[in-house]
Symmetry: C2
């Protein structure tokens, strides 16, 4: 049934490894993912992993880089060409939600990495990701104020923090219910509220 792993060129094997970790993180605590579990999930022996990665930490770094690249590309593509800053924020929000539904392990890995005390390479990648993300949010919010779509007295940084909190709240909720799909049905309602907070007081 599981005769033996097909041989793959090194870069492909690395790609597949990253995918395996992302998948595993969807169903178990990322900090408890062992190299043995990763290898097993790929139908490979544990030792083979170390032909392609110098250490477990290097695997995590590759995983976080994959996440950073894909997520930023995704929200950029979603907001591309949208002149309305509010519409752009909404598009970024919804594409982020879809990303999480497709890869439920991602928010868990992100939080897990940021939690670390030491500054590992993987943690630094996660930090840079959020910084870049916040930059993009800040730009759109500033635009929104300039164009009159958002309240002129809006606290840009608070609005960026709340945007991320919006998603975090949904993630928290889905972890409680255990059903990731729920995040999709709850998302619009939460964003509607967020939108109101940007528009200004009554």
């Amino acid at each position: 049934m599981d005769p033996r792993a097909k041989q793959l060129p090194a870069d492909e094997r690395r790609t597949v490894t990253v995918a395996a970790v992302i998948e595993l993180a969807g169903s178990q605590n990322p900090s408890e993912i062992t190299t043995a579990a990763i290898a097993q999930h790929m139908h490979l022996t544990q030792g083979a992993l170390f032909r392609h990665f110098a250490s477990k930490e290097a695997i995590w770094q590759a995983v976080m880089e994959w996440v950073a690249d894909r997520l930023l590309a995704r929200i950029d593509r979603a907001a591309e060409g949208l002149t309305s800053p509010m519409a752009a924020l909404q598009a970024m929000y919804l594409s982020h939600i879809e990303f999480i539904v497709a890869h439920p392990g991602v928010p868990r890995m992100m939080f897990g990495e940021l939690q670390r005390a030491e500054s590992t390479p993987a943690k630094r990648v996660a930090q840079t990701l959020i910084e870049r993300y916040a930059e993009r949010l800040g730009q759109r919010i500033e635009q929104g104020k300039a164009l009159g779509e958002m309240a002129p007295d809006l606290d840009t940084q608070a609005a960026a923090v709340l945007f991320i909190g919006t998603i975090q709240g949904l993630v928290m909720h889905s972890m409680l219910s255990g059903d990731i799909q729920q995040i999709r049905t709850r998302a619009p309602g939460v964003f509607a509220l967020y939108q109101r907070s940007l528009r200004g007081a009554a």
Copy 2:
């Protein structure tokens, strides 16, 4: 300097152990806290811990119970006697922020527990805590709608999710900056936005 631990009665020793874990979680990844580290932090040998707790899991359960009791008591006390639902939410919010500043390890532990795949006793306590928390939020929001302080068409559950997200966003932000105190200065701005979203559209 550190001659030997003073002997303590069992219940006091358990209390001190919980405090030690909470403290440790403030400066390191909760999932990496070992029983040896806990014991060392209390100036005790590792073996002594198991005189008072059947297992490490039992320690975590006690810790989460401590958190649940204190946090719920704190937000209840803060909102007590406030007739305005909006003012009550704000009081709960601010007292929660103060709780986090006093015990920065708590949100990390909460998230870490909820992340677990298996249903451990500690995880169940964390789940119950959030459920109770959400209940209280829901009550106040419903009151706010009934009294006209909040938009009548407000999505109660979305508002509760966003409330928690509000705090989660601040926690995320503080984990990035590495400075927990920042959460205190950023908190009012974020709550101001949240408040706007409850009041209703322009």
